[in-house]
């Protein structure tokens, strides 16, 4: 799911400096699972901020089930009116819905939304998807070249591969070598020979998903 990381405390402190009443709003969804913006993180952040800004500022916290769903965001409409600014610990989508729902109150993100990723261990998350909207990993042995290749190449590997490693760093494996090895172990090397058209990242407009009924 969506992975996020808390912003540095100094940044958050400078953001809320002009305000006297701050409400930190957590989200019980993805950011809760990746330990970035759940109820526990709201409490921790508020405790940290209170120590930083001193006693004159009122900082409260509240966590809603999902910040990307209007039903849950609407629940606190009376409460948010009592605050000067909102600090949202949800992913980028959640922050935007909150800001859209309460346009008269400044809303600041308290986390940096990083990626769609997997849980390697508690507190360790790895990016696996950039939501490009045109999934090709069926032809690349289940390895996403957009995410894993430093150049995001659709056809690879490039000339920078050195003994299975990427030219940008000696610790980064070349995604396309992994693609080759996996396809070769599945006897599907013909897939790597297909030339794929470049993805149309440019001129991209905001995407809206409308599921077909079934």
């Amino acid at each position: 799911m969506v992975k996020a990381k808390k912003k540095p405390l100094s940044e958050l402190k400078s953001v809320i400096e002009p305000y006297k009443k701050v409400l930190t709003i957590g989200c019980g969804g993805c950011v809760s699972i990746c330990l970035a913006g759940g109820q526990k993180e709201v409490n921790v952040l508020n405790a940290e901020l209170s120590l930083e800004v001193g006693k004159g500022v009122k900082i409260d916290g509240y966590t809603i089930e999902r910040q990307c769903k209007p039903l849950y965001v609407d629940e606190i409409k009376e409460i948010v009116q009592q605050y000067d600014c909102l600090l949202s610990m949800a992913c980028g989508a959640g922050v935007q819905l909150l800001a859209e729902t309460y346009p008269q109150i400044p809303v600041f993100p308290a986390v940096n939304t990083i990626a769609i990723g997997i849980d390697r261990d508690v507190g360790i998350y790895e990016e696996r998807c950039r939501a490009c909207g045109d999934c090709i990993i069926g032809y690349t042995g289940g390895i996403c070249p957009i995410t894993r290749c430093a150049k995001g190449l659709f056809n690879g590997p490039c000339g920078g591969v050195n003994q299975g490693l990427c030219e940008v760093s000696e610790t980064v494996a070349c995604a396309w070598v992994e693609v080759y090895e996996r396809l070769s172990s599945q006897n599907r090397l013909d897939c790597i020979d297909l030339i794929r058209e470049p993805i149309a990242w440019q001129n991209q407009v905001q995407r809206t998903v409308i599921q077909d009924g079934y």
């Binding site: 759940g38 089930e65 009376e78």
Partner: protein, 365 residues
């Protein structure tokens, strides 16, 4: 004595029951519309310049595609996963209405009292349908007693609901065949029928009526029509929970949260007939086959408990709910209720109440 009682039950008691039923029904309808609001249209109307003939032709062309969709939908529905129970249930509810309106005896009485009547089904047919109803009631009782899906608390009420619905049919069947004392039996039949009418409004049997509101008016994924209404809270949450203490909990705040959505939640909790048909829509239940994963179970042990105790719970009670609310539910919003109850909304309210007291699941262990 019996003559007087018969006249009393047939005359004034029947009229007052009907009046009570109609008034109650009007109240329920009013309550529903008061507790919901009309949703704004999300999609603007399309400027369609096709002629009627073109539209009809294009619709005819899409028929195979629609039929294919219906087939796929059917295969994924509870009619496919539990076909016997579902078809029996549909027929059972249809016969309930048929039996009230189209039985000869009822129509004769109607004609005598108010001078009008519905068409009647042949007596033999009605007799067979009554036997079918009694058999289905026995099936329901058996299923509830022995299926692992029905390990609910307060199960007595569920049996009572089935028996209350079966009673008019049993007494009517006996009276029609003139076994035992006819007059006593027919009085029992009328009394049990009147009881059922009242129960339709004030007990969980009201799900038969709520079905039409839940599946037609309420906006949802699996509506029978394009639902246009959604529940609105009775009042808004106007303050945040106080600081969390280790042992005590803030009963006032829990009460405030319960009152906030009281009407809709009480309606939904009351009308859940615990049919457990939501089970198959929960992927966690499908994976585990453990009755505690059934969506309605999760609601009853959490929100049901909060409402039945009016928020007077201990911290330990809330901590016991964590397992049902977080570990056994991911709030994926996909639970399906045949009556149209919003199970995710109930679970999210229970979660919010637990959160307000500092009871929630953390993911760092």
């Amino acid at each position: 004595m019996n003559v007087d009682l018969y006249e009393l039950v047939r005359g004034p008691l029947m009229s007052s029951t009907l009046i009570l039923f109609l008034v109650g029904l009007a109240f329920r309808v009013f309550q529903f519309f008061k507790a919901t609001t009309r949703l704004p249209r999300t999609a603007p109307p399309v400027n369609d310049r096709r002629t009627v003939k073109q539209r009809v032709n294009e619709t005819i062309k899409t028929v195979p595609r629609i039929l294919r969709k219906v087939r796929i939908h059917y295969r994924n529905s509870i009619f496919s996963t539990t076909p016997v129970t579902m078809w029996i249930t549909v027929v059972y509810h249809v016969i309930l209405v048929l039996a009230v309106c189209f039985t000869q005896g009822h129509n004769v009485l109607l004609d005598l009292s108010w001078g009008f009547s519905f068409p009647s089904l042949p007596e033999k047919t009605m007799d067979m349908l009554t036997l079918f109803m009694i058999a289905v009631s026995l099936y329901y009782l058996f299923r509830r007693a022995f299926s692992t899906k029905f390990k609910f608390p307060h199960i007595f009420r569920d049996y009572l609901a089935i028996l209350a619905t079966a009673l008019p049919f049993v007494t009517g069947f006996i009276a029609y065949h003139q076994w035992f004392d006819y007059r006593t039996m027919i009085i029992c039949h009328m009394l049990s029928g009147q009881l059922l009418l009242i129960a339709l409004l004030y007990t969980k049997l009201g799900h038969t009526i709520f079905f039409f509101f839940g599946r037609i008016y309420l906006h949802g994924e699996l509506n029978l029509t394009r639902g246009t209404r959604a529940w609105v809270p009775d009042q808004d949450l106007d303050r945040l929970p106080g600081p969390v203490s280790e042992n005590a909990i803030d009963e006032h705040y829990i009460r405030h949260m319960l009152d906030q959505k009281k009407t809709q939640m009480k309606i939904m909790l009351q009308y859940c007939s615990r049919c457990s048909n939501c089970a198959k829509s929960c992927f966690l239940y499908v994976n585990t086959r453990d009755a505690s994963y059934i969506p309605s179970q999760k609601v009853f042990v959490s929100l049901g408990k909060l409402y039945s105790t009016k928020g007077k719970v201990q911290r330990q009670d809330l901590e016991n709910m964590v397992d049902s609310l977080w570990n056994k539910c991911v709030l994926c919003d996909r639970c399906y209720c045949p009556i149209g109850l919003k199970i995710p909304e109930m679970i999210s309210l229970a979660r919010t109440i637990c959160r307000s007291q500092g009871v929630y699941k953390t993911y760092d262990a």
